[in-house]
Structures are given as structure tokens and as C-alpha cells.
Symmetry: C2
Subunit: 194 residues, 2 copies
């Protein structure tokens, strides 16, 4: 279980065997059944999870309506970043879309890892850079792309999403109704045949 | 000039006098006249700037139309994060809205600083965390808040914006027309009087 995370880390920063062993002691396995929650809004999020297997949907609730912000698969990190960083009640829900296995590190263990071993600090910075890049990307797309463009980008960059996740969640992630998603798909299908 | 950045850094991480001196040698002063560009789209962004005085507007151009993504004032960092991290041609434009003074660090100097002095690596991680938090916040707001809510949040969190930046850029940042912004302002003004 921990080996998958070790391989992931070694591909990003150079780590000695001794440094790699810290992963065994600092991360705990957590299993979620499909539909189970890793995190629910209103609580303070005090850990970060690495998905070994499965899928996690990130959503928040606005005026009683679910808004899907992201969907993460294997080898991704999941947390409510705002809550984790500032000890605030979180607004995000993290729910398993399939039976899911995670490796979870508690905040205090992560910060201990950073201070004990500077290569993990570098690793942490690079991981946060990815969070920043992804969030910037989503914000730019939301501010200027039409639904059809966002659908095309998703199809290009995340084809696995369409294999594994029910259409209604993909529509929700795109901020459109399932009917609009069907229409876009039909239109693109017709275009590609003509 | 460099003292402002030193004070800023000392408030975030503990730094010895020797570590603080690295700021003098790694950061260069850059002056921009109002309307001048720190960065234009199509180029690779290889530096990060700290605003000592002034204002920078971040915008990208979509189908010939400017989309304002952010507006930064004193004691903020500015860069095209995607371009800086992945050496890609940048999509962002960074333009001075007032006469602006920056302290700029080149990428190679920043990475040298990180490897020479681990406290700067911690500082870097914390700064990137802020970028991630801000981008997540903007993305969440764009995906679920109505223009009037986004206007209210802006008024609450960034009142300085309304003092220093022409209305048309604030409207553009909110993703609405200047006329819609006027209508929202009038409506709120009427509500607050009744």
C-alpha cells in the first residue's frame, strides 16, 4: 500500500531509503465504501489524503444545491485546503464515488515531516504548486470558457472521467444540467461525423 | 526598498540577519509607469515580483476580450504561475494600474535561495499556499456566487479596490458590464437606505 506513495514521491524528489521509511510511519491506511465521506462540511479538516485506489468527488452546497468542484482519482491528493491551512470549518465535502483506499497524513505529522527532513518540505511546496496550478486553471476556465469549451477540455484532459463517473456528476462539475450535457455531446458527435 | 520585503518575510518565518541579507543580493528593483507591462502574453515568465508600491492588474485575452483575473496591491506577489512553473508561454498579462515599484527575483535565483537556505523553502511553500487558497476561493465563487454576491464579497474583502481602481476594471473582474455594476451598486445603496 505504502509502496505506491513511495514510488510517487521518488519520481518527484530524490529520497534515501531512510527518508522513504518515514512514509510508513507517518501515513495511515483509510478505506471508504462507495458514497462514504472522507470529509463533511462544517468540520475542521486536519489531514491530507493520497488516493491509492478509487475516486473522490469534491463538492460544496450552495443554497441547498450541490456544486461539484473537482473529481480526483488514483495518485492525487485530497483535502479541504482552506480548512486545513487556517483551521476553519470546511465548506467542502469529499465523497467516495467508488470503493476507495487512501493513505492519510495528519497535519501535525506533516509539519513534523517538513521540519525533520527538508526534502519533504520541497516535496510539499511542489504539491501545493500543483494545487495552485489546478485551481488557477479552473478559475480561468470558469471566468472565460463557454460550457462546450469546458466540456471539450475535460474530454481532452480527463477522458477517464467519462468512463468512471456518472454523467450527472460530470454535468454538475461543468455547471450545466444533464440535459445540456446530452445536447453538447450530441452536437459534437454530429459534427465529428459530418 | 528591500527593507519592506525583509519586514514582510520576517513576519512569516524566522530569519537571521545573514539570511535576510540574501534578499539584497537576490532581488532587483524594477519600476513601471502606469499602463506599462511587467509581463505580456506569449512570453515565458521567468521571474516573480513583490509589489513595494503600486497596483498590478492580471488579465488574459479571450476571443479579443480582456478578462481581469485579479488585481494586486502592495505586499503581494505577482507572476504567471503556470508559465513560471512549466516554462510555457504565458497567457496572463500583468499591467501596472498606477506607477509601480517591484522587487523582482529571477527563477534561478529563487531556486538557489530554496536550496541554500531551507527557511526560504518554507517561506516559498507558505507563499504558494496563499496562491492556492486565493485561486480556490476565486474558482468557488465563480462556480456558485451570483454577481451581486461577488460584488458584496469584494466590497467586504477588498474595499481598497473601489478607492483605487476605475469601475470598468472592477466590473471586468466581476465578469459583468459596467452598466450591471452600476445597477448593483444603486440597488445596494437603495437597500441600505430603506
Amino acid at each position: 500500500m505504502h509502496n505506491q506513495l513511495k514510488t510517487y514521491c521518488k519520481n518527484i524528489v530524490p529520497l534515501t531509503d531512510e527518508e522513504l521509511k518515514l512514509i510508513d510511519t507517518h501515513f495511515e491506511v483509510q478505506n471508504l465504501k462507495k458514497k462514504e465521506f472522507l470529509l463533511q462540511d462544517g468540520k475542521v479538516c486536519s489531514s491530507i489524503g493520497f488516493i491509492v485506489k478509487g475516486a473522490i468527488r469534491h463538492f460544496h452546497i450552495k443554497d441547498g444545491v450541490e456544486k461539484t468542484c473537482d473529481i480526483s482519482f488514483e495518485n492525487s491528493w485530497v483535502t479541504d485546503f482552506q480548512s486545513f491551512t487556517h483551521n476553519m470549518a470546511c465548506v467542502m465535502n469529499l465523497q467516495a464515488m467508488e470503493d476507495t483506499i487512501l493513505l492519510v497524513i495528519k497535519k501535525e505529522n506533516l509539519y513534523k515531516l517538513y521540519s525533520e527532513c527538508s526534502v519533504y518540505e520541497t516535496f510539499g511546496r511542489l504539491m501545493v504548486e500543483n494545487v495552485a496550478l489546478r485551481a488557477t486553471d479552473i478559475a480561468m476556465s470558469l471566468s472565460s470558457d463557454k460550457p462546450e469549451e469546458r466540456f471539450n477540455n475535460l474530454l481532452k484532459n480527463r477522458p477517464d472521467l467519462f468512463q468512471r463517473i456518472p454523467q450527472k456528476y460530470i454535468a454538475n462539475f461543468l455547471g450545466i444540467s444533464p440535459e445540456s450535457l446530452s445536447r453538447i455531446q450530441k452536437r459534437i458527435h454530429t459534427k465529428s461525423k459530418s
